[in-house]
Structure formats: structure tokens, C-alpha cells
């Protein structure tokens, strides 16, 4: 499923995945790999890791680690997904970065809050494999659409 006749990309898609549940992270990584082998997934367990990774809040850094998409869980220890989302969107360099919220919650209030804070989209974590693969497909589609 690579490229559909296009020349094979040299650069892999870079996806940053934040989830405190390694099992969840693992299965989504598999789902993405299943869809496109040429994806590089960086996984963080905790919120501060991603903030550090991108240097969020560090005024001295203005260069941006290359990343095509962020997959963000909401229910994280210490720093919640909402806070990460809010803080990233506060900085201009993350304005156009796709940040996809992936959460087990189906609480409409939470979904609405994510939208307000500037989430690109909200995906409720599925449990069935076919649905997980479908989410993987959806994300790869999103990546390809952005080039």
C-alpha cells in the first residue's frame, strides 16, 4: 500500500504518539505500520516528555523538530492531554501541525473542549482490531493528503 503508483517517498512520515498505556501505543503503531511501512513513530508515555521533545514553552528554541502528526491521549498522568494541546497551540510553530486526540472517553464535554482548544480531530479509541486498523488508515490518509 505504498504510494499508489507514485514514486516511493524517501522521507518517512514522522508521527509523535503520546499515550501512558504502552499496549495502546503498540497497537496503534502496528496499525500505522500496517497501513504504511514508511512511518516513523516516536512514542512518549508522559506529557512532559513531548513538551521537552518539542521544547514547548522554551522561548530560546524556535526551530521545530520535524513531525508530520501528533497523536495525543487525553488521560495522562501529571500533565493532561488538554494541557499539552493548549500549550502547543499557544505557540505559532505548532499552529499548522495536525494534533489528533485519541481518547477512550466518549464524553461530549471533553470532545467539545478538545475542539475548542484546537484539536485537528478527535478519535475515540476503538477496541476492535478492524476499527483500530481503520483508524490507522484514516491517519495515513490524513498524512498523505498533507504530502
Amino acid at each position: 500500500m505504498t504510494g499508489m503508483g507514485k514514486a516511493i517517498r524517501e522521507e518517512p512520515f514522522r508521527v509523535v504518539l503520546v499515550d501512558d498505556n504502552p499496549a495502546d501505543a503498540e497497537i496503534f503503531r502496528i496499525a500505522l505500520a500496517q497501513e504504511d511501512a514508511n512511518i516513523e513513530v516516536t512514542h512518549f508515555i508522559a506529557g512532559n516528555e513531548i513538551l521537552d521533545y518539542f521544547g514547548v514553552g522554551d522561548r530560546t528554541t524556535c526551530e521545530c523538530k520535524h513531525c508530520d502528526l501528533v497523536l495525543l491521549d487525553l488521560n495522562l498522568p501529571a500533565i493532561s492531554g488538554f494541557e499539552i494541546l493548549q500549550r502547543m497551540r499557544n505557540e505559532a510553530r505548532f499552529q499548522s501541525m495536525p494534533i489528533v486526540i485519541m481518547s477512550g472517553s466518549s464524553d461530549p464535554g471533553e470532545i467539545a473542549r478538545c475542539a475548542r482548544l484546537g484539536a485537528t480531530t478527535y478519535i475515540q479509541k476503538p477496541s476492535r482490531l478492524t476499527e483500530i486498523f481503520a483508524v490507522g488508515h484514516q491517519i495515513v490518509q490524513m498524512l498523505r493528503a498533507r504530502g
Partner: protein, 1325 residues
């Protein structure tokens, strides 16, 4: 226009039947009335859609046994056959053969019926029968006129029976219809006519005449002359006979004498016959070819005409004016074409006043379109309601007058006379006379137009033929012979001398050879001469008389005495006188005549012609005719004796002349004297006649005056009578109205005890009818019990008694029956009047009242309580047994006494008196007033008093009912019971004085509750009581209690004497006892209950928290289990062995189900936990979203969702969406075989909306009841996904908004889920 040959194979009638809309029905009816064989041929003409295939023939052939055939070109009409006009064709008949032509394409309306009937009339003459049945428009009207004019018989359907009456109506309007009947009757009538033989063979002229009784015939003609002033004896007898025959047939008369009788007795029939005789066909531009030809003639004659010269036209026999207007139009057009302004004067004349009337109106039916081109229609006609009216420009040029061309003098100075189709009806002698009079009427060079079948006969001497084909003639410039026979009309002189001028001789008939020879002889050998009448007017001149006569002036009646040369005059006069006297020829020879210097001697001879008219032949015999010697023998002798000198001769001549003159003078004198004598005698006679006349006149005047005065009297009497009559009429009207309006049954009976008159009410009551008038009253079945009417009547009539009694009628109604004598104005008795006054209501009311009174008495006497009735003065009127017993008094000493005075009233006190007064006067009843009194015999008793006014009707004094009850014992019992309740109650109870708020009493439980002794609180102010923390609140309680009487406080904290805090509920009630207000305060310990409630709330909250946390936290590991077990299966299926695959499947399935349950639980706990944000939300728009969300399922199951108009409610929109979506989803999920039909309805109920979602699904077994709303109850086994959490969520949502949800269902039929929503949400939920 002679009789046409009928069809070849023997003569039989051909019936042309026209119909249009509604025709089929009429045809069927027609043939239902026909009894074949009829011996007639039928041709059916209808208006058909050109393109439409007609099944008329087929339908009709089922209705009649006659063969029904679609008409084809060239078909010969056979008897007992029916021919039907095919669509898009026109049909005519010629020589018994049908002619079909394609229907003309034209914008004008199509008139096939007219066309056919006209051809039928032309072809069949009097054998034609025209029938017009139902249809719209006016087609056929023209046709029946044509048929009628040719002597045929015409019918039309009675417009009232026709579905579309306008066609038969138009036909009937023409006046040319013989029978107006329903179709079946028409059929029978036609058959009857045919069998009567008239139609089959028309008697020929001779036969007819022979069969006619001459006397009857002339009687009819004289009747007609008398009634209509037209002499039909001049008409062709055949025409008249034919028409008479027809009229007789119409009246079913066999003999002419019968018809004469009918005519004599029914003037209307005379009118009909007259109309029949005069009926004629006319239309605009009849025979258009003639008009074309005429236009040519006209344009030539107009060429030589100066503008402004009036052109005069006379249309003789103009009928209803079409012809007149046609010529006026033709002339107008011709004048325009010639570019000249020619004033037009058109005279239209006819014998029929009716026709003239129609002509004058100038209004013609719609079908003028047929004969008038669209161009002319536009220019010369104006559209009106009933058709077309001739334009004013044409109308005002035309003058219509009644005129009988056979009798009245002609109009004169005409440029054009048309007389079409008039002569054909007339005998040949009258034709000739009319031609002469037309000749007279025309100006020289004028044009005559006759009908196509008419000729000028042998009058080619008067008219020159211009166009033989179209019968256009020119007047020859010959003098007219006005040979009218005016005798009948009596206006003109009996004789008009015939004038024959020399010119006329050439023109005179050249038939008589002998006469011609005689004329030649006369011209050659006879002396010139002339014929004069007694007045010396020259009638005829022959020979060369020029020498003897002056040239004739343009004088119609040249007189010989003026024509003769002067020298001839004396001799002429003498000779004429002599001839007149002697009646013998007289002659004188040698009369000298001088002319142009030549002197001739002539012998004058006057020969009286041997006729009664005294004509004289005057001859001038020339000198060559007789010798002078021969002529004058005396002169010779005179000359002989006198010696023959010239002087002698002259003398002799002079003598002779003198003698002659003397003789002449003598005779003149004699004549003069004789004439004078005669005049004198005549004068005498005249004078005496005058005197006689004068006296007669005087007599007449006297008679007239007498007549006048008696007339005057008669008028007065008449006026008076009229006035009386009017009064009588009025009073009769009044009486009738009074009787009619009086709902009282009244009978009037005469002296003979017979019924004279009765009112409508009596009619109903006694079941009388008009036939009962005049019947003996005893015979009237009045139906009243016990009522001897006869006897009562006799009493009334003979003894003038007014009798009345009550009686019941058959139905048991009560009447007061009055029998009164009937008095006339002058007080005579002329019978009796019986009136029945309905007093049923009264009697019944009386009965009712009686019953009620008895009832009331019975009650009063039965009641155990003492009752007393008081009058307005408060005196005792009545009292019950119980009263007497209670107070131990006797009725005698009580009744009539003042209540206060009586022994029983000792307890009266002023306040009670006031109350009683108030009850009596102001109608203020009082209840349960308790009075305590120490009675001498009874001891102390408590009495409870109730009083109520008995209102008197109609100013009668009011009364008062006073009920007294001894409640002494009952009161004591009640007090005891109360006390026990008070003391054993498990509420703390305080009794307060409402006015002061002081504690009056406290029960034992109060002490138990508060640990305060009764004595400690008694007499204290409630607000100051120790246990109650807030004095302010306590005061408020007292205040509120006196205001709204029962305030309650849910939880009030108090503290007991032992320091324990208690939560209590307080309910206060106020009541009145013996004019004092008390407040009862109930204090209930609710401390324990509050505590329990609080614990329950906390547990609930914990539970919710737990459920949320559990489901939320469970979700994550579960997701891992599901995801990875499936991944494992996905990646390793078939690699691990069959057992492992199976086990893995178990894991995958179980994990999946568990995950779903957790998700559902999570959703449920979210609903339970989440904040509700009620806002105004329109249910309809939320429903739309729900339907949108469910659209996949809806499409897959072909579900149909309907809903009422839905209101706006205050709810959390997300939750409402979930509620609706769950309910709809549920209905779709648990559907039956048929596609789901779901209806969402709403109704208002109190403060709630009740929504319902009805489906046609599987339904729910009632045994599951409420279980369906509990979490994880699944009712449908495993065949449907889901865990039944949906309804649990619904219940949660509804309840969180303060509503309830329930289901009504029938297994297999469907379910209806109801939920309620508060209109005004309560706060705090």
C-alpha cells in the same frame, strides 16, 4: 317551388332527428316509444367530435329492432331503417338518397341539423318530419322552419325533459313547431300521424277540394278574414288545404266541420292556423347567387345616380325582416362600392303582425352566422345575449308596416321592389293583379326581384327580364294599370276609368286578329274621332284628329271641350246635349274649322254608344265625306228665296247662326232654370234633413247626458262596492290570520249544529280536514272524554249560556272547553263557538305542586328532629311532633305564639333573634349555631340550631324554617374522643390561643419529645418557648397560621431540655371554637429520617462515582485485551492449531462483549453524572437530528417515521437527542416483518407534555414490565445486539428532567413508549 318528387319506391315519410348534448338519452327514449314497423325512415343527425369514433349506431341498435346503419354516400333511405350521421361529415338528402360531404372546415359553428332538415324539407315537402331533441345551441331551429314551411310536420322535445334544453327551446321559439313533447311521446305521435294516413299520401289538389265541403272551407276563410283581416281565398287552395289537414291532424279531427267548430270556439286555434298559413322560410341573404347577380344590376343602376338621391326599396312579404335587412345591407355595400352617399329608405311589409313585430326588434338567433359572412356580421350586427342585433345604421333605414299586398294599395316611387316567395302561395289572378300594382309602385327603370320559383306570368308588357335565372326584372316605361279591387276595403272609388293613350296601343296585346283588322279598317276608312265619356273626358282617340283638336296637354284626363278647336265648341256642345237627351246620334254639317290658316268644313257627328256608361263617339267627317249641298238643304232653300247674293248669303248665315245661338241660349236658360230648381229642391231637402239631424242630435245629447249621469251613478256605486269589498277582504284576511295565528283550537258551529269554520290548531287537535266543513258537529270524532258537545251547544245557542268544562283529549292532555254563543254584529245568535284552551301545563303543575306539598308534609312529619316554621313576625305556624315532644308542649298552646313568648322559646336571646331576623329578611341562613340553656324540665342542654328562609313567591311573606337539634350528648362523646387522641398521639401537640399566642395545652408526647413538662409551657407565649431556637420564626408561625391557616415547616431544629438537638416538622392549623380562634401545632420528630436520607444520597453518589470510575478504568485494560487478542488471532490464525484457534475465539468474543458492556455502562453513568443544562429546545429540530443520525438504519429497514407538531421544551439538548435516538433506534431494532412505522405524538396533560413513540414492531411481553428500563436486561434473547442499556439511559434522562417513562405494548403488534416532560421545569433538578 312546386311539389317535389318524393323518393322513388312509393312515398313514405322521412324523419330527420337532430340532437346534440344529451342526445343519446333522448334517442333511446325516442326509440323506446316507437313500435316497429313504423313505415318510416329515420335519419339521426348529431353534433359529433370530428375525430371521435362514434358508437351511436352500436348503442342504438341495442335499443331498437330497426336496423341502425351508419349513413353512407348514395344510400337510398328505406322505411324502417335508422341512419346515423358519421362523424366529421355533413348530410343532406336529395330524391330520397342521402348525400354525404366532408364537414366544411370553418371557424363558424357547424349546423348539420339545419342543413339536413332544410334539404329534407326541399326533398320531401310535406312528407318531411323534423324532430329536435336535447342539445345545446340553436341548431335545428332554422331546419324546423324549413320543414314547416314546406308543409312538413315538426316536433321538438319538451325542453323540461331535455338534459340540454337550449336546442329544443330555440326550435320551439321559432313558432314553427307542431308538437312539444317528451321523446317517447314524439315517437308515438309520429306513428299515429303516419297511420292516420295523412303523411303517407297527400290528397291532390282536386281531391282535396272535392273532399272539402265548400261551405266549411269558405267559413274558415271568412273566420280568418274576420279575425286577421287577410283574405286567404286568394291563396292557392292546395296550400290552404294542406295546412288545414295538418291542423286537423294535430287536433285529431276527422272532418272539416269539426275543425270549423274548433275554430269557432277557440280563437287561439285561429291564431295558430293563421300563423301556419303564413309560415315561411326566411334567412339572411337567402339564395346568395341571387344577391350576387343583384349586385351587378345594382352597381349599374347606381352608376347613373347622383349622390344624395334617396334609394327606395320595398320588400313585400318581408316575414321576420331578414330579407329587408339583407337588401339594406346589400344596398349599403353597393353604395359604398360606388363611392356614393345614397340615403336608403327600405320598407318591409308583411301581413303578419307577429312577423312585423319580430322584424322591428331586429334581434336574430345565433344561427345567423350560417348565412351572414363574418365580415358582415362584424359590420352590421351587434352581439347580444340571445344572438345578434342588427346594427343601428341599418335598422334606422328600415321601416316595417303591416300591409296586405293582395288588398292594400301599393307603395310608390320605389327604386326596387322585392317580392320573393309571396306569389307562389297565391292564385294566378291575384298574382297578375299584384304584378300590376308592383309595376305601379316602381319608378321608371326600377327593379323588381321575385322568388326563384316565381315568374312575371304574361306581364312581359310591364316588365323586361334582366336575369331570368335569378328573377330580376326591370320596369318597362308603360303606364300602370291600377286595377285594384278596392271594393272590399271600401276606401277607393268603385270605378276607375281606364285610360288608354295612343302609345299604349303598340304595347297592347297583339293577340286579337279581328280587333286588329277592325283597327286597320278604322284607321283607313273611318273618319277621325274620339270616344268621350259623359264628362267629356277623352277616353280614346283614333284617326288624325290633329286638325280638329288642340294638341293634348300633359293631362291625365283630357277634356274634349278643352281639346276641341274653339270654332267647334258651340256645335259640339249642342250636338252632345242633343245626343244625350235623345239618345240618338246627332249631326251637324258644315261646321267650319280653322287651323293654321286653312278652313275646313266638317260634319260633326256625336253618336251615343250603347252602353250604360254613356260614352259618346265624336266623329269629324271631312269635307270629302259629304257634299256641302247635301249637308245644308235648308240653306240652299234660304239662299234660293233670298236671291243668292253674297250679302244674302252672309245674312242668311248670320240668321242661321243667330237662330242657333237663340236656340242654344234658350236651352242653356232652360237647363239653368232646371238646375236652379233642382238645387232649390236639394237645398230644401238638405235643410229639412239638417233640422231632422239637429233634433236627432239633441235627442242624442239628452240621451247621452242621461247615460252619463247613470254612468256616474254606476261608477259611484261601483266604487262603494269596491270599497266594501276591500273592507270585507281585509276583515276576512284579518280573521284568517287571527285564526291561523291563534294556536287555540276554535270551532265555529252554525245554528244547524254543523261545522262552519275552524282554526288550523283545531284541525290538528281534532284531526279535521276541509271535508269536515258542513258536517254535523256530532259526527266529528273529537276524542274528548265526557264531553257532550251537542247538549252544550244547544244550551249556548238557546239559552245564551257560556259553558266551560275541563276535558282530556285522546292523549290525556287537559283542555278547558268553552262553548259560547256566536253573536253577529247586531247581536243575533247565529251558532256557537267552541274553543279549547290548553291548560295541560296548569293542571299538571297543580298536580305536581300538590304532590310536592304532600311530599314535604310527609318529610316534616317523619323527621326525628324538632322543626318549627315561623312566619314573618316569628310566630310559630307549625311545629313537628318531635318539637312538641322535646319541649313537652302541646300544639294548641304553641301555634300562633311568638317564638320568644312560647315556653319552648325561653332560651331565646337577643343575638339569636337578630340572626333569625337576618335569615328572614336578608336570606342569610345560619348553620350549626350552638346554644346552651338550662331548661326547667330538661336540665342543661346544648342545642344546635339551623335556620333557612322559605322564600315567599310573588310578594307573599317569607317564612323561616328552624331546625333544632339536641347535641348535648353527642358533644360530650366527641370531647372525650378528642381528649384520648390528644393524649395518645405520637406527635407533640400544642394548643395556642390564636389571639395572644399563649400555650393553652400541651400533650404528653410533647413532654416526651422535648423533655419539658406540660406545666412549664402552659400559659407561655409560643414564641418564648425554650425548645424553639428562633423566637422570630415562632412568631412568624403564629402570624402565618392566622393568615393561611395551615403552614408547615419541613425541618426545624429544636433542642430538647437534655440538650439534644432534634429536627422536627411542624404543621400548624387554626380552628374556631366558641368564637375563639385556636392554633394547633403538631411537632413531629424527623431527625432519624433526615439522617437516613442523607446517607442514602451519599451512597448513591459513591455508587455513581464508582460506576463511572470502574467503567472508565476498566475500559483501558479491556481495550488492550480486545485489541491484542484480535491482533493475535489476525496474525496467527491457523498457525496455532484448531484448539488454540477456538480458545482464542472465545477470548476475542468475550472480550468484545465485555468491552461493549463497559462502554454502555460508561454512557449510562455519564448520563447519571453529567450536569443537565436545560435550555429551550425545539423537539422537532432535535428529532430531525436523531433521524439524520439513524438514517442508515432507516434506509436499510425502509422505516417510516412520522410525527405531530412538536413543542419547544426546556431540556438538555444532548440528552433529548439521546432519548429520541434511543427510542427510535429501539423501534427500528425490534421491528417485525413489515418495515417499521414509527409515529411520534405529543399531547398536553396538566403541567406536562406527554410524548409517545408508537411502533409496529415485535412488542414487549407485559410480564417484563418495568424490567426493560433496568440496566442489562435483555428481553429478546441473543438475536439482537445491544444490552438493553438504551432504555435505562432513556429512563435516566427522563427522570433527570422530572418526568416519567413507561411503555404500553401488545406482543406482535407493537409498542408505544411514553415519556413526560415538565412544561415548567422545577428548580434544583
Amino acid at each position: 317551388m312546386g311539389e317535389q318528387a318524393s323518393n322513388g319506391n312509393g312515398k313514405f315519410p322521412v324523419v330527420g332527428i337532430g340532437a346534440s348534448a344529451g342526445g343519446l338519452e333522448a334517442f333511446l327514449e325516442f326509440f323506446s316509444g316507437l313500435r316497429p314497423p313504423s313505415g318510416m325512415g329515420f335519419v339521426l343527425v348529431t353534433h359529433l367530435e370530428p375525430a371521435h369514433e362514434s358508437s351511436l349506431a352500436e348503442i342504438l341498435s341495442r335499443a331498437t329492432t330497426l336496423p341502425v346503419i351508419d349513413a353512407v354516400e348514395g344510400a337510398r333511405v328505406e322505411p324502417d331503417h335508422v341512419y346515423v350521421l358519421p362523424p366529421n361529415a355533413e348530410i343532406t338528402i336529395r330524391e330520397g338518397v342521402l348525400r354525404l360531404s366532408p364537414r366544411a372546415e370553418s371557424l363558424n359553428p357547424h349546423y348539420p341539423i339545419d342543413r339536413f332538415l332544410e334539404s329534407l324539407a326541399e326533398d320531401q315537402g310535406d312528407g318531411a318530419i323534423g324532430v329536435i331533441l336535447s342539445g345545446g345551441g340553436s341548431d335545428g331551429a332554422q331546419g324546423v322552419r324549413a320543414v314547416k314551411s314546406r308543409g312538413g310536420t315538426t316536433f321538438c322535445q319538451d325542453p323540461q325533459t331535455a338534459r340540454h334544453p337550449s336546442m329544443p327551446h330555440a326550435a320551439a321559439e321559432t313558432g314553427a313547431v307542431d308538437f312539444i313533447q317528451p321523446p317517447d311521446r314524439i315517437a308515438r305521435e309520429i306513428q299515429k300521424l303516419h297511420f292516420d294516413g295523412y303523411l303517407a299520401e297527400t290528397p291532390s289538389e282536386d281531391e282535396a277540394k272535392a273532399s272539402m265541403e265548400e261551405r266549411n272551407f269558405s267559413r274558415i276563410l271568412s273566420l280568418l278574414r274576420g279575425s286577421h283581416g287577410v283574405d286567404f281565398s286568394l291563396y292557392k287552395p292546395s296550400t290552404i288545404v294542406r295546412r288545414l289537414g295538418r291542423r286537423m291532424l294535430i287536433h285529431h279531427l276527422a272532418s272539416l266541420s269539426d275543425y270549423v267548430k274548433l275554430l269557432e270556439n277557440h280563437p287561439a286555434e285561429l291564431d295558430d292556423l293563421y300563423r301556419d298559413l303564413l309560415i315561411c322560410v326566411t334567412s339572411f341573404f337567402r339564395e346568395p347567387e341571387m344577391f350576387d347577380a343583384f349586385r351587378g344590376v345594382l352597381s349599374r343602376s347606381l352608376d347613373s345616380r347622383k349622390s344624395g338621391d334617396p334609394y327606395r326599396i320595398w320588400v313585400a312579404g318581408c316575414a321576420t325582416g331578414e330579407e329587408t335587412y339583407s337588401f339594406a345591407i346589400a344596398l349599403t355595400e353597393a353604395a359604398e362600392a360606388a363611392g356614393k352617399r345614397i340615403p336608403l329608405q327600405v320598407f318591409g311589409t308583411d301581413v303578419s303582425d307577429e312577423s312585423i313585430e319580430r322584424a322591428r326588434s331586429g334581434v336574430f338567433p345565433e344561427n345567423v352566422q350560417q348565412s351572414v359572412s363574418a365580415e358582415r356580421l362584424r359590420r352590421f350586427f351587434v352581439r347580444v345575449d340571445s344572438g345578434y342585433r342588427i346594427a343601428e345604421t341599418i335598422r334606422h333605414t328600415c321601416v316595417f308596416a303591416r300591409h296586405d299586398i293582395t288588398a292594400d294599395p301599393p307603395f310608390s316611387h320605389m327604386d326596387l321592389i322585392t317580392c320573393r316567395n309571396v306569389l307562389i302561395y297565391l292564385g294566378s289572378s291575384i298574382q297578375d293583379r299584384i304584378l300590376q300594382s308592383l309595376h305601379y309602385g316602381l319608378n321608371t327603370g326600377g327593379t323588381l326581384v321575385l322568388g326563384s320559383a316565381e315568374t312575371i306570368g304574361n306581364r312581359s308588357d310591364l316588365f323586361a327580364t334582366i336575369d331570368q335565372e335569378h328573377k330580376i326584372f326591370l320596369k318597362k316605361a308603360v303606364p300602370s294599370r291600377l286595377g285594384f279591387d278596392f271594393g272590399r276595403n271600401g276606401g277607393a272609388p268603385a270605378e276607375v276609368p281606364e285610360l288608354i293613350f295612343p302609345v299604349s296601343r303598340q304595347a297592347a296585346a297583339e293577340v286579337d286578329v279581328e280587333g286588329r283588322a277592325a283597327r286597320i279598317l278604322r284607321d283607313l276608312y273611318a273618319p277621325p274621332g274620339l270616344i268621350v265619356n259623359d264628362d267629356m273626358q277623352v277616353l280614346e282617340v283614333h284617326g288624325h284628329t290633329g286638325f280638329y283638336l288642340e294638341p293634348a296637354m300633359e293631362d291625365t284626363r283630357p277634356n274634349l271641350m278643352r281639346l276641341a278647336r274653339p270654332s267647334l265648341l258651340p256645335s259640339l256642345r249642342t250636338l252632345v246635349d242633343q245626343a244625350r237627351e235623345t239618345k240618338r246620334p246627332a249631326a251637324e254639317a258644315g261646321v267650319e274649322v280653322e287651323h293654321r290658316g286653312e278652313v275646313r268644313k266638317t260634319t260633326l257627328r256625336v253618336v251615343p254608344l250603347d252602353d250604360a256608361r254613356q260614352h259618346y263617339l265624336v266623329l269629324f267627317e271631312g269635307p270629302d265625306m259629304a257634299e256641302p249641298e247635301l249637308r245644308n238643304p235648308e240653306s240652299t232653300s234660304v239662299r234660293g228665296t233670298a236671291g243668292g247674293t253674297a250679302v244674302d248669303l252672309q245674312l242668311a248665315q248670320a240668321y242661321r247662326e243667330m237662330a242657333q245661338l237663340r236656340e242654344y241660349l234658350r236651352k242653356a236658360t232652360e237647363q239653368y232654370e232646371a238646375a236652379t230648381e233642382e238645387l232649390k229642391a236639394a237645398n230644401e231637402e238638405a235643410r229639412s234633413a239638417n233640422e231632422e239631424l239637429q233634433s236627432t242630435n239633441e235627442e242624442l245629447r239628452t240621451a247621452k247626458e242621461e247615460l252619463q249621469s247613470s254612468n256616474e251613478e254606476l261608477t259611484t256605486v261601483n266604487d262603494e262596492l269596491k270599497h266594501r269589498n276591500e273592507e270585507l277582504r281585509l276583515s276576512n284576511d284579518d280573521l284568517t290570520n287571527v285564526l291561523g295565528a291563534a294556536t287555540i283550537p276554535i270551532l265555529m258551529v252554525g245554528m244547524d249544529l254543523r261545522l262552519r269554520r275552524f282554526t288550523p290548531a283545531a284541525e290538528r287537535l281534532l284531526r279535521l280536514g276541509p271535508s269536515d266543513v258542513g258536517q254535523p258537529i256530532a259526527n266529528v270524532q273529537h276524542g274528548f272524554k265526557l264531553l257532550d258537545v251537542n247538549q252544550k251547544l244547544r244550551l249556548a245557542i238557546e239559552h245564551l249560556e257560556i259553558h266551560h268544562e275541563r276535558a282530556q283529549d285522546r292523549q290525556g292532555r287537559w283542555f278547558e272547553v268553552f262553548v259560547r254563543p256566536f253573536r253577529t254584529v247586531d247581536n243575533r245568535i247565529e251558532g256557537a263557538v267552541i274553543s279549547f284552551i290548553d291548560i295541560d301545563d296548569l293542571v299538571r303543575a297543580l298536580h305536581t305542586a300538590e304532590t310536592a306539598r304532600n311530599f314535604a308534609e310527609a318529610i316534616v312529619n317523619t323527621v326525628q328532629h324538632p322543626l318549627v316554621v315561623l312566619n314573618a313576625d316569628l310566630r310559630i305556624i307549625r311545629a313537628t311532633e318531635a318539637f312538641y315532644k322535646m319541649f313537652q308542649v302541646a300544639p294548641g298552646e304553641t301555634e300562633g305564639q311568638l317564638l320568644s313568648d312560647s315556653q319552648s322559646g325561653q332560651w331565646m336571646f337577643p343575638e339569636l333573634m337578630n340572626l333569625l331576623d337576618a335569615a328572614l329578611v336578608r336570606d342569610v341562613p345560619f348553620r350549626d349555631l350552638e346554644v346552651e340553656h338550662e331548661f326547667p324540665h330538661l336540665g342543661r342542654r346544648t342545642l344546635r340550631l339551623n335556620a333557612r328562609r322559605i322564600t315567599g313567591r310573588d310578594h307573599q311573606p317569607h317564612r323561616l324554617l328552624l331546625a333544632i337539634e339536641d347535641v348535648t350528648e353527642r358533644k360530650e362523646t366527641a370531647e372525650l374522643q378528642y381528649r384520648r387522641l390528644f393524649e395518645s398521639a405520637k406527635d407533640g401537640i400544642l394548643i395556642l390561643d390564636a389571639a395572644s399566642g399563649l400555650v393553652m395545652d400541651a400533650n404528653p408526647y410533647f413532654s416526651e419529645l422535648t423533655r419539658y413538662q406540660r406545666s412549664e409551657v402552659l400559659g407561655k407565649r409560643f414564641g418564648d418557648l425554650e425548645p424553639f431556637l428562633e423566637a422570630e420564626e415562632s412568631r412568624r408561625l403564629v402570624q402565618e397560621t392566622s393568615r393561611d391557616r395551615s403552614p408547615s415547616y419541613e425541618s426545624v431544629r429544636i433542642h430538647a431540655r437534655d440538650g439534644k438537638h432534634l429536627v422536627v416538622a411542624i404543621i400548624a392549623t387554626q380552628y374556631q371554637l366558641k368564637d375563639k380562634d385556636f392554633i394547633q401545632v403538631n411537632i413531629r420528630d424527623v431527625t432519624e429520617r433526615r439522617r437516613m436520607e442523607e446517607r442514602l444520597r451519599r451512597t448513591n453518589l459513591d455508587l455513581q462515582q464508582f460506576a463511572f470510575a470502574a467503567s472508565h478504568d476498566l475500559q483501558e485494560p479491556l481495550r488492550t485485551v480486545v485489541g491484542f487478542s484480535q491482533l493475535l488471532k489476525h496474525q496467527n490464525e491457523g498457525k496455532l492449531g484448531a484448539d488454540a484457534d477456538k480458545h482464542l475465539d472465545y477470548i476475542v468474543t468475550a472480550a468484545d462483549r465485555m468491552s461493549q458492556m463497559v462502554l454502555d455502562l460508561l454512557g449510562f453513568s455519564q448520563v447519571a453524572r453529567a450536569e443537565t443544562n436545560p435550555v429551550s429546545v425545539n423537539v422537532e429540530s432535535v428529532l430531525a437530528t436523531a433521524i439524520l443520525n439513524l438514517q442508515m438504519a432507516i434506509r436499510d429497514t425502509r422505516a417510516r417515521i412520522t410525527f405531530d407538531h412538536l413543542p419547544t421544551v426546556r431540556m438538555d439538548p444532548t440528552m433529548l437527542l439521546q432519548l429520541l435516538q434511543n427510542l427510535l433506534g429501539n423501534s427500528i431494532k425490534y421491528r417485525g416483518e413489515a418495515p417499521p412505522e414509527i409515529h411520534l405524538a405529543v399531547r398536553e396533560q396538566g403541567e406536562e407534555w406527554v410524548f409517545s413513540v408508537r411502533d409496529n414492531g415485535l412488542g414487549i411481553d407485559p410480564k417484563y414490565g418495568e424490567h426493560i428500563f433496568t440496566v442489562f436486561k435483555r428481553l429478546h434473547g441473543r438475536e439482537y445486539p445491544g444490552m438493553g442499556i438504551g432504555l435505562a439511559i432513556c429512563k435516566r434522562i427522563v427522570e433527570r428532567h422530572g418526568g416519567t417513562i413507561w411503555v404500553e405494548s401488545e406482543l406482535g403488534k407493537g409498542s408505544t413508549f411514553y415519556f413526560t416532560v415538565l412544561k415548567q421545569p422545577r428548580h434544583g433538578d
